[in-house]
């Protein structure tokens, strides 16, 4: 029962507007606890929260808060309530009002491909920005072949993208056993006949076959010169492994982010892994070239999004600016990565079980498990 004149805005359209810094006003009609936990953010986004159940008898109470000079998007969990509220706003003469198609669920699942750069011997590397949840995947494409790193659950996006690039996916790699989102690595490999790689130290409990991603692994994509070099870098998990691609890019997984560092507690071993994490960040990474471009598996804040949504930084710059790399005192570091950590990601224990192949929830259940922000960094709120 849609109101005439009411339009839907897709998650893709909204993403473009956020990345283009378009002025937007968001009326989020979910209940206050959901809003406080996780909402749409951006440099040019203004948002307010009025739960839909206060607007059942009419929208008079919010009319004067709705601006006339910018686009308004009404947002809810799945879509129903935002259609209900946005329809009333249109009936009250508000223009430029739309609702988010598919609600926060669709927002959480949208992936925006962004080209990171070209490789030395032909080929390119792309970043897939999951803007609603802060997850980042990568695809290395060269000479008709592709490798996907930290594949997200929405595997068809990667299949379609590879098809557009006329590339066959040969490898899928996970830098570690993820706790904040469900990996699509194995599923994508099974669909495309690719090899699935996982660090063996994170794979103690997995119930499927995989290729061991360790420092001896030889992985090439297309031209032999495009080489993926694994660097064992424990800390977020015991198996966490970074990848150097084409001697230019450091895919740092959940160890190092642009404005923060990874948390060591999601597998229940914060105390044990603190020294691994420090060693990785303060000595292993120190030995790498400062000119490597760091490409993390997550971002935590909208301010980490660069031009076109790209999330990246030069390693040397991060050693100067990232607060997580500038704690000289070991005790201070230990404190920062074990105390006052942000809440753990929603359903993170179940998500780890799914990623080990131990449980197989339905698509709907997987969607629910992934609701909310990723919170893999120590500074995420």
């Amino acid at each position: 029962m849609e109101t005439i004149g009411l339009k839907g805005m897709t998650a893709g359209e909204l993403t473009k507007k956020v990345l283009d810094n378009t002025e937007l006003f968001i009326l989020d009609v979910r209940n206050d606890s959901d809003y406080d936990d996780w909402k749409i953010e951006g440099a040019t986004i203004e948002s307010i929260n009025v739960p839909y159940f206060h607007l059942i008898d009419g929208v008079d109470d919010v009319l004067d808060k709705i601006p006339d000079d910018k686009e308004v998007v009404v947002v809810c969990a799945k879509e129903g309530s935002s259609v209900f509220v946005a329809g009333q706003l249109v009936e009250q003469g508000k223009h430029h009002v739309s609702y988010l198609v598919g609600g926060m669920k669709a927002w959480s699942e949208h992936l925006e491909p962004v080209k990171v750069g070209d490789l030395q011997d032909g080929g390119s590397i792309y970043q897939f920005v999951r803007i609603g949840k802060g997850c980042l995947s990568y695809m290395v494409v060269s000479n008709g072949e592709a490798a996907v790193i930290d594949t997200l659950r929405m595997t068809e996006v990667f299949e379609n993208f590879a098809k557009e690039q006329n590339a066959v996916i040969k490898h899928t790699l996970d830098t570690h056993l993820h706790a904040d989102h469900i990996s699509g690595g194995l599923k994508l490999a099974q669909h495309t006949g690719a090899k699935y790689w996982l660090p063996p130290k994170d794979a103690d409990e997995v119930v499927f076959n995989y290729n061991q991603l360790d420092e001896h692994a030889e992985i090439t994509v297309g031209n032999t010169k495009i080489h993926i070099q694994p660097v064992y870098s424990p800390g977020h998990t015991i198996g966490s492994t970074s990848l150097i691609v084409d001697n230019q890019y450091l895919l740092s997984g959940d160890i190092l982010f642009v404005q923060s560092i990874g948390r060591p507690d999601l597998a229940g071993k914060a105390e044990d892994w603190v020294s691994d994490l420090r060693n990785t960040l303060y000595s292993r990474y120190k030995r790498l070239s400062e000119d490597l471009i760091v490409l993390p598996a997550h971002f935590g804040k909208a301010t980490e999004l660069g031009v076109g949504g790209k999330v990246s930084a030069r390693l040397g710059d991060l050693f100067k600016e990232n607060p997580g790399l500038n704690m000289e005192d070991e005790a201070e570091f230990r404190k920062a990565v074990t105390e006052n950590l942000p809440p753990q990601p929603h359903a993170y224990q179940e998500i780890r079980q799914v990623n080990m192949g131990k449980i197989t929830p339905t698509d709907e259940e997987q969607r629910d498990m992934e609701t909310g922000p990723n919170r893999c960094a120590i500074h995420d709120k």
Partner: protein
């Protein structure tokens, strides 16, 4: 768990916002103090009905799940309950009652709230007779017993205490402030 309610609303299969829209309408048709059960399959309804009840002043009693169906229980707020209008002189505080229960494990507690309220939180051993049924079920009680009457805030129990007193019960006390402030053990 079968809980006696005044009205059951079937909101199964309805997506947000309809379970709350229908609940609001159904509650408007009930009298103050009556209990509504909402049956819904939309998982989001669990958090939403709690937030909605909290901000509108209705009393959210609890929810339980059977298979895919969520059962939510909400009691329509009664403006009189927040006002002081107690008349029965013989009262006992929550703390005094807790002490009394320690001294004498056989002390009787009569809970006159609705069965749905009783179902979600009660003092162990309390007898449940809703205020509206007290007159016809009065024979279930012994006139010689020491009876402490409790409800949520002390108003329904005030009326129940007066009724018992009129019917010849001599040792009746109204518990204030009642279950809303109860710090002792509950089940």
């Amino acid at each position: 768990m079968a809980i006696k309610v005044d009205r059951v609303l079937d909101a199964k299969g309805l997506a947000c916002p309809m379970p709350i829209v229908r609940s609001k309408k159904a509650l408007e048709e009930l009298a103050a103090g009556q209990v509504l059960e909402v049956q819904a399959t939309d998982k989001g309804s669990l958090a939403d009905i709690q937030s909605w009840a909290r901000t509108t002043g209705h009393q959210y009693l609890g929810s339980n799940q059977e298979g895919d169906i969520l059962h939510h229980f909400v009691r329509k707020s009664d403006p009189s309950e927040v006002k002081e209008q107690r008349k029965y002189p013989n009262t006992i505080t929550n703390e005094q009652l807790e002490q009394r229960m320690k001294e004498n494990p056989n002390v009787k507690i009569l809970d006159v709230r609705e069965p749905a309220e009783f179902a979600f939180s009660r003092i162990p051993g309390a007898i449940s007779i809703p205020l509206g049924e007290l007159e016809q079920r009065i024979n279930e009680l012994d006139q010689e017993d020491e009876i402490n009457v409790i409800c949520r805030t002390g108003n329904r129990s005030d009326m129940a205490s007066q009724l018992l007193n009129e019917k010849g019960f001599k040792n009746v006390k109204n518990v204030i402030s009642g279950m809303s402030e109860w710090k002792g053990f509950i089940e």
